[in-house]
Structure formats: C-alpha cells, structure tokens
Symmetry: C2
Subunit: 323 residues, 2 copies
C-alpha cells in the first residue's frame, strides 16, 4: 500500500504537502493537482492507524450491547449508526453477551484503540468505565444506568411496567405473574418493581410467589413460564419485562395449550417479527431506534467538545393494546 512518502515522491513535493492536501489545508492549486493525481495513480489510502496515533483520536465509536441477537438492541444499533454516519463517524458493534469479562475487554479495546467515544448498554449494574473517563473519552449509557456521572438515555421503566400490568388488570385478569430479568440487571428491573407496586395498589394481594427471575432470553422466559404454570394456583396472566422473555412465555403457553386471550400476556417491549398481526397480546413499544439516535447525538456533542454537566434523557414507552 502506498504511503504519503511515495505519493510525495511521485508528485515532487514533501510529505507535509501531501498531508495538507489530504486535510484541505492551504496548498497551491497546481501542487494540489499533482498530489491528487499521484495519489490516484498509486491507489493511495491514508493509513488510519498512523493518523489516529498522531491525532490521538479516531473517527470510530464503539457500541457495546449485551445481546446482539435481541432485536431491541439491533434496532438501537441502527439508530446509533444512522446518526453517526451523518457526522462521518463509523460504528463498531460489540456483543458483550451479558458477560462482564467480555465487556471489560471491549471497553479496554475502545480505550486503547483511541476510539472517539463509547455508547454502552451495561451488562451489569456496576461496569467500570473509569479507564475511559481518565482519558476523557466520552461515554453515554443507554437503556441501563452505570454508577458514573455520565450522559444517559433511559426509558421510563416504571411506567412501562405499570401500564403493562394495568392493561392486564383492566382486561379482567387477577392472578398476574411477572417474569423479570436477573436480580442485578439494574434499571430494567424497575419494571418488575412497578408490576409489584401496581398489583398492591390495586388490592391484588402479595404477588411474591408470582415473581420469577430469568435471564432476558427466550429460553429463560419459556422455562420461567413453565415453572409458573406448575404452581398450585397458577396465574391467569403474565407480564414479561422484556421482549425475548415474552416470546419464551408465549412459546410455553402454546405448548401448554393456553393461548391468549384466554391467558393474559403483556410484554415490556415489542414481540419481534410477529406474524399474526393484531394479536391478543399487550405490548409496550419502546422506541429502541430513537434511543440509539439520541444516545449518538449526546455522544457526538461530547466528542465535539461539549462539556456541560451530565444529562439524562428519559424516553417513554407507548402501549399497544391487545387487538
């Protein structure tokens, strides 16, 4: 691959001049032409590694998500990407697999590769991002909080959990269970808290035995639903605190021959790729893509030097009533 030295030699100018042409600094039109022709002829591309080393900054932002196979996060990724492209940044997507070790590894890479910034959907409550912050690399949290004082884009988890639950109550269900995420999942667990609170405030007793924790995935949701169905007095409805556990719960219900609307189902999030259009499942749409564009906007502000105190943006869900 050609370097600027070879381009410079061919064009009969100094490497500095080549660099200036590349970066739109003032260079006489004739030399600029010479350089451009030489670059063209040699099929020159700048070496980003060298550029980034010198500039101490790259034009890539990292997006860390806990589960790349979850359509919620891929939609979020699309949002980030769309916004980043607008400003000439590229996005690299890193799957942390809900694994703090992988997460740490990717954060370390983002840091030592001089990436422009990081958008992080933390896998666990207390992800350590002090390394990035020390180097003044901007970090924006999305969907879940960190313990750090940084920009964040969240959804209104309490009201999402509450409206999912309330919808089922309004439809006449009384023994409403909840399939929640892992205990240490942080913000999204506010949804199960909202479920508990809504149940109590509507006088539907102590629902503790109807609360099951799973792992945010399809199989976890299915197993949890199966467990619930084996209780002495099984529930007559269920709230799943994320989309995939909702899918799993529905699978278990179909296997047991209990299909909505006979059995009430409400999901925090949307059922991905559902084919039976207006199904009898209550869904609370969460604006995943918008979460992404918002996070990217906050991050790009910081990259461009904005240094106001940390901001938190909270987006709201939108309930889609069962048809």
């Amino acid at each position: 691959m050609a370097t600027i030295y070879e381009v410079a030699a061919l064009a009969g100018v100094s490497p500095a001049t080549v660099s200036r042409v590349l970066n739109g600094r003032s260079v006489s039109p004739e030399k600029a032409r010479l350089v451009r022709d030489a670059a063209e002829k040699l099929n020159f591309t700048v070496n980003r590694t060298a550029r980034d080393l010198r500039r101490q900054h790259s034009e890539v932002i990292a997006l860390l998500v806990p589960d790349i196979e979850n359509p919620f996060f891929t939609a979020l990724a699309r949002g980030v990407e769309d916004r980043a492209q607008e400003s000439g940044y590229s996005v690299v997507l890193c799957n942390t697999d809900e694994d703090p070790a992988k997460e740490t590894r990717y954060l370390e890479i983002a840091n030592s590769a001089n990436m422009a910034g990081v958008i992080l959907a933390p896998s666990r409550e207390h992800t350590d991002i002090s390394g990035l912050l020390q180097r003044k690399k901007p970090v924006v949290a999305v969907d879940r909080t960190t313990g750090f004082d940084i920009d964040a884009v969240m959804v209104d988890n309490r009201s999402i959990g509450a409206s999912a639950t309330a919808a089922l109550i309004d439809r006449g269900f009384r023994r409403i269970a909840c399939i929640a995420g892992p205990l240490d999942a942080g913000s999204p667990e506010e949804r199960s808290q909202a479920w508990a609170q809504t149940m109590r405030s509507r006088g539907l007793g102590d629902p503790a035995k109807y609360l099951v924790h799973a792992d945010f995935r399809v199989d976890g949701g299915r197993a949890a639903m199966a467990t619930l169905l084996e209780l002495d007095t099984p529930p007559d409805a269920v709230v799943a605190t994320n989309n995939l556990m909702g899918v799993g719960a529905l699978q278990a219900l179909f296997e047991a021959g209990l299909t909505p609307p006979a059995f009430g189902v409400a999901v925090c999030g949307e059922l991905p790729f559902s084919t039976d259009a207006p199904a009898s499942v209550t869904q609370v749409r969460i604006p995943a893509r918008h979460l992404g564009t918002t996070a990217a906007t906050l991050l790009l502000d910081r990259i461009e030097g904005d240094s106001q105190p940390a901001r938190t943006v909270v987006l709201r869900g939108e309930i889609l009533e069962a048809g």
Copy 2:
C-alpha cells in the same frame, strides 16, 4: 494515560525491556517484577494504535453484514464471535445495510485500520475487495459469493429452494408462488431458480407470473404477498427465499384472513422468534451460527499464514416439516 516510557522510568529500565515484559520475551525475573509493579501502579494499558502501527497488524477482525436487524445475520455473527474469541481476536460488526457505498466505506476502514482480516457477506454480486487483497489481508465470503478467488462458506441454495418447493407440492399445493430477493443478489437467488426448476420438473406449468422480487426485508415480503393475492388466479401457496420475507408474507396472509395450513407457506430459513411452536409453515433451517464459526475458522487459518488455494465450504440446510 501512561506510556511504556513512563513505566520504564518508574521501573528504572528501558522502554525496550517494558515491551519485552509485555510480550513475554526473555527478561530477568527481578526486572519483570519491577516492570509489572510499575505498570500496575500507573494503570498502564498498551496503546493499540501504536502497537498496530508498528506491527502492521491488529487483533481485530471485521464482519460485514448487509442487515444487522436480520436474525440470520446476528446468529452468524455470534458464530464468528465465538470462534474469534477462542483465538484471542475481537470482532467488530459493521452493518452495510445492503448499500454498496457503506460497504465500500467499511472495507476501506478495515483495510486502512490494519485489521487482521474480513468476513464479508457481500451486499451485491460484485463487491470490490482488491484493496484488501493487494495488502494480503485475508477475506472470507459468507452466504454470498464475490467475483474473487477467495475462501467462501456457502449454503446449498439450490437444494434449499428445491426442498421448500417440493414440500409444498407434496402437501398438495399446485399454484405455488415465489417471493425472491433482488435480481442482483447473487447466490441466494439460486433459491428462486430452484423453485422454478422444481415447478417445471413436476409439470406445474410456467410459473413466471408467480415470481415476485422484493428486498429481503419484512415489508418487502408483505408487499410482494399482497401483490400476489391480487392476481386474477392467485396462488394457493408461496415460497419465500429468506426468513424476513417469509415473515412479511405471513403478515399479509393474516391480514387477508388466509392462514396456514389453508394457504401453503414455505420459508428458506427459520421464522425468527416464532411463538406458536409447531406452526403449519414449512421451514428450511440454515445453520447460520455454524456458517459463522466456519468462516471464522477459515479466516483465522489464513491470518496464521495458511496459503493453500482458496477453499469453498458448502453447508446444507435442514427441512423442518410443517407440524
């Protein structure tokens, strides 16, 4: 952030020695301890940009997929990631959005950022990867072919298309339509060719009017299905050549009140996140994750210096009969 010079100063050794400790070269145990302590104290992390510049090689591989929101590609990505992690490589996932310009951009980045290699699911038939090849960066094609003589991992598209079609014929359908991808999509379009061929060989007439092209996405599939339903003699069954168009077709059918098994549906790929367990839709499972691990294995071989002639691995689909 600390550099090896600062570590060297604190430890009372030369930067070269610090580097040797970092890379496990022979260094006396005492100095090694001194260096490790100093590195620890300063919270040192190596600067990958500098390292990569010097080594002309990074430990990151790029995976370019045309649609990050398609579960087929996220499963493939998981496969790549799992395999790469085993060998200490990280994966960055780039969404090309079926857009040749974005694809070119990401390829250019992979090249100029000295990435170790690229796994590419090309957006169009003739993606230009000559830049990478010039620099001897290994590239592996997956799911779709390139015009270049490189390693590739494919699926047996003809037999996938043929068995999806045959399954519908065997279930008694006769007017079987096909929702295919874009005309220039390359390999996956062998599936619609297999559909046509199967129809002809079974004596089901000239099916040209039952062939519709869409864009591999849900909405495209839905629109295509709607078009088909408006024909004078509408089909009684449909083959979708990828998973998302299958979802779209099903949506259109539900809206029209035509649900399987009354209307025959076969999908090349799996319906993602389906909730109604043994549905009456024929699916041909494509081993997406395995595609990913295989591609990663081929790529890592090349990265480690393997220089045998280009290999092509073809994996087979597995038919899941409608329940």
